[in-house]
């Protein structure tokens, strides 16, 4: 009698069913693979981006696909979270199944014209996967998100908005003379005689920057799907 049930019990214990994680914010790091700093700065950026009228961009990492393809898992997430607005459907989800070595950009109905399959594919192939391969996952996600905003919301300024956990390139997006002034100030405040005031400068720059960008809440605001619909558009990749 037990022999009949044994295979059933085995399948229960070994094949966990895929469940969609809880939607706690713009960055759901269920797999715990991103640095804390990336999580926070990215979440802030995505909140602000949406507040400025941009697409609702969601990042999620999954501990395991539990036997599903990334497309199957991704559409389950999309159907449950409904990222994007009910009529405009301008939502997009960046799904990383790190242990399964798969990534997908799931594009909402309203963004299919701007973020075409071809463009999503390019972002996955040329931005995200090379950075994952070279070991910088935080950078891969941040740059992937920025590339998405480049196509989805070209009118919204995103320079200097996000820094990742990696020290090397912690200040992005400053160009030309702004960059020069930045380095001069760094030199003055951190290397030169004004050393003592270096940290004050950093503090001022951070809070000043925050006020500049619309003064909204810093990632503490609410976050939920707006009823956005998805049709399965987007692109996947693996490494």
């Amino acid at each position: 009698m037990l022999a009949l049930f044994f295979p059933l019990l085995l399948s229960w214990s070994f094949a966990a069913e895929f469940t969609v994680p809880a939607l706690t914010g713009p960055v759901v790091d269920a797999a715990g693979i991103l640095s804390a700093r990336t999580r926070e700065t990215l979440a802030t950026f995505l909140q602000q981006h949406r507040a400025q009228g941009g697409a609702q961009i969601q990042v999620v990492s999954l501990p395991s696909l539990e036997g599903l393809s990334i497309e199957e898992a991704s559409i389950k997430i999309a159907d449950q979270w409904q990222i994007g607005q009910a009529k405009e459907d301008r939502g997009v989800i960046l799904v990383v199944a790190y242990a399964d070595r798969r990534v997908r950009i799931e594009v909402g109905k309203g963004l299919e014209g701007d973020l075409t399959d071809a463009r999503s594919s390019r972002i996955v192939r040329e931005v995200i996967i090379p950075r994952i391969r070279s070991g910088d996952l935080d950078r891969a996600i941040v740059d992937g998100v920025l590339a998405i905003t480049h196509y989805a919301d070209p009118n919204i300024e995103t320079s200097g908005a996000v820094s990742s956990g990696s020290q090397r390139r912690s200040v992005r997006g400053l160009s030309g003379w702004k960059l020069l002034i930045f380095w001069v100030l760094i030199f003055l405040f951190f290397v030169g005689p004004g050393r003592r005031f270096g940290w004050l400068f950093l503090l001022a720059a951070m809070s000043g920057g925050g006020r500049h960008r619309g003064g909204g809440s810093f990632g503490g605001g609410g976050w939920s799907g707006g009823g956005g619909g998805f049709n399965g558009g987007g692109s996947s990749g693996s490494w």
Binding site: D117, A118, R125, F230, N231, G232, S238
Partner: protein, 199 residues
């Protein structure tokens, strides 16, 4: 006695109306949902068919000796696009024929992609890569649309066969249970054999 009889008749009528009230709105809605979901599936199949001539031309530029495979795709596409399906009146046989033609096109496309793997210049061609990603995207949209169609047919069939909405159906609508939209055998093997694109 007169009163009791009329009251009980009234009560019985109200009970029946109450029960048959279930489904008066949901059954036609579910019917419409199936129609919309079917259109979505056929739209996505059409979208795939529209991408193919461009793909064939791009591949031809690099692999013109692969005539057999290229012609296979062109023929399969012609056959698939010649079949139209009326969402509201399709018989199970029509659905099966439609899916079979689409499945054969899936297989022909799969063969073309396998052949394309042999040509590094073709694989590096930006146009080809974009088309490949568009076709992959469309294949996924087809899968999603079909899953949703299957769900909407199931929901409709549940309403029509399960009490109390089944009662409403037999009293007011007389709608028949719809056949489920199954994958054709060709489509199943095409899905299983699809080469994984690794970067």
């Amino acid at each position: 006695m007169f009163h009791i009889k009329s009251v009980s008749i009234l009560a019985a009528t109200l009970a029946v109306l109450q029960l048959t009230g279930c489904g008066v709105q949901s059954i036609p809605r579910a019917d419409n949902d199936v129609e919309a979901a079917t259109s979505e599936v056929t739209n996505q199949y059409k979208r795939r068919a529209d991408l193919i001539p461009n793909l064939v031309n791009t591949v031809k530029g690099y692999a013109k000796h692969e005539q057999e495979t290229l012609e296979g795709v062109v023929e399969a596409r012609a056959k698939a696009t010649s079949m139209t399906i009326d969402a509201s009146k399709a018989t199970p046989e029509q659905v099966a024929d439609y899916q079979k033609a689409q499945g054969q096109l899936s297989q022909a496309l799969g063969r073309l992609m396998v052949v394309a793997e042999k040509y590094p210049d073709l694989k590096a061609d930006v146009n080809f890569r974009d088309l490949q990603s568009q076709i992959e995207g469309t294949e996924n949209r087809i899968t999603v649309a079909r899953d949703r169609l299957i769900g909407s047919i199931r929901d409709f069939n549940n309403l029509v066969t399960v009490f109390p909405t089944s009662l409403t159906n037999s009293v007011f609508f007389h709608k028949e249970k719809k056949p489920q939209w199954d994958l054709a055998a060709e489509e199943k093997t095409a899905v299983e054999k699809a080469p994984e694109v690794k970067f």
